[in-house]
């Protein structure tokens, strides 16, 4: 392996002036400078400013706002189980679930929990979740978007443990959960999302 003369490194690190080098070494410095200059100047890239400002102008992240809204109106709960980025969200909603609620007691069997699926697909006409728990059949578990605001959700009783899943949009687009942070290869060239269902801590909901 060919090493560079340490003097070249010292010049490039700004520790010595380049005039201290002979021509051959100076040529090496210049080649690297040129390479860096090319890399620095070559990219014209569209600004992400609009995208960022739009995201931060929202009064709260769309997810939080819609989830809370979802809770207090009579419909299916829309939540996700333990996504790393929304721990606070999960904690807040779990606390809400623990409030005594009439007519909503569901007896979960030993070793069962609730998996909550939610995704944003504005403009979609139907969204289903498919996975190992429903033989990957889109007709089986449809998500709902009663507000027609593009936020779809459903909650499903599942055995505790890991389950692979995807969403099917409009009956034909198969998409891994954009909000999921756990993935596995599906051995068919794509990725499945993974949800970890915890056994329910409360005996009633």
């Amino acid at each position: 392996m060919k090493f560079l003369d340490p003097r070249v490194h010292r010049v490039l690190d700004g520790e010595e002036p380049r005039e201290s080098l002979d021509l051959a070494l100076r040529r090496q410095v210049e080649r690297l400078d040129q390479a860096a200059a090319l890399l620095a100047s070559s990219l014209e890239q569209a600004s992400v400013a609009d995208r960022v400002m739009t995201a931060i102008r929202r009064p709260a992240p769309a997810h939080t706002h819609r989830f809370i809204h979802w809770l207090v109106t009579p419909r299916a709960i829309v939540l996700r189980v333990r996504p790393a980025w929304s721990l606070a969200l999960a904690a807040g909603l779990l606390a809400a679930l623990l409030l005594p609620l009439p007519e909503s007691r569901v007896a979960l069997r030993e070793g069962e929990g609730i998996a909550q699926f939610v995704a944003r697909f504005p403009g979609a006409h139907s969204v289903a979740v498919v996975g190992s728990f429903n033989d990957w059949q889109p007709e089986s578990t449809r998500l709902e978007d009663p507000d027609h605001d593009g936020v779809w959700g459903a909650s499903v009783v599942l055995p505790a443990g890991a389950h692979e899943y995807m969403f099917v949009v409009d009956g034909e687009r198969w998409i891994a959960d954009p909000l999921a942070e756990r993935f596995v290869q599906d051995d068919y060239g794509r990725e499945n999302s993974v949800v970890l269902v915890q056994p329910a801590r409360v005996s009633h909901l």
């Binding site: 090493f3 080649r31 090319l38 890399l39 070559s42 890239q45 960022v52 931060i56 993935f183």
Partner: protein
Amino acid sequence: MKKGEGPSDAEVVATILAGETEAFGIIIRRYEPGLLRYATRMLGSRDAAADAVAEGLVRAYRHLASCRDPTRLRTWLYRIVANRCKSELARRPTASISLDDAPPVPDPESVETTLERAEQLALVERALAQLSPDKREAFVLKHVEGMSYEEMAAATGERIPTLKMRVHRAREALLRALEEVE
């Protein structure tokens, strides 16, 4: 940011934390070009870079109060974006990147020079893509983003001797790749 050009980072951060959301636009304008450049070199794709930088900036805004030293905002932003790039790279089957969607932009000179520059750039980009992510990052931060080793240490969380070694190895690898063509 050059001296004398508008408010300091610390002043802008204070303004944002006091409730002036729109002032974050100043931060974006100041640091976006460098962050996009860096992320594109790390990920090999403009789209992936735009995603990483946009998400990183949104996260930076939301956690602005936890930036412990607003005078070092730049390195703090680089660290957030670097972490996103690393997460993305870790998710890919191999650490190598392709440069399919980062074509060089011809500059307004003669066609000959433009072609020559394009070829040179392609050569350099290929050589860069062959470096491991650590060395690629080190070279980009040092020579393209112009950071000092201290700034690089703050941005990456690595020790300076480690960074120096990576930069040195990156230079050697690049030079070797460039000279092979001659």
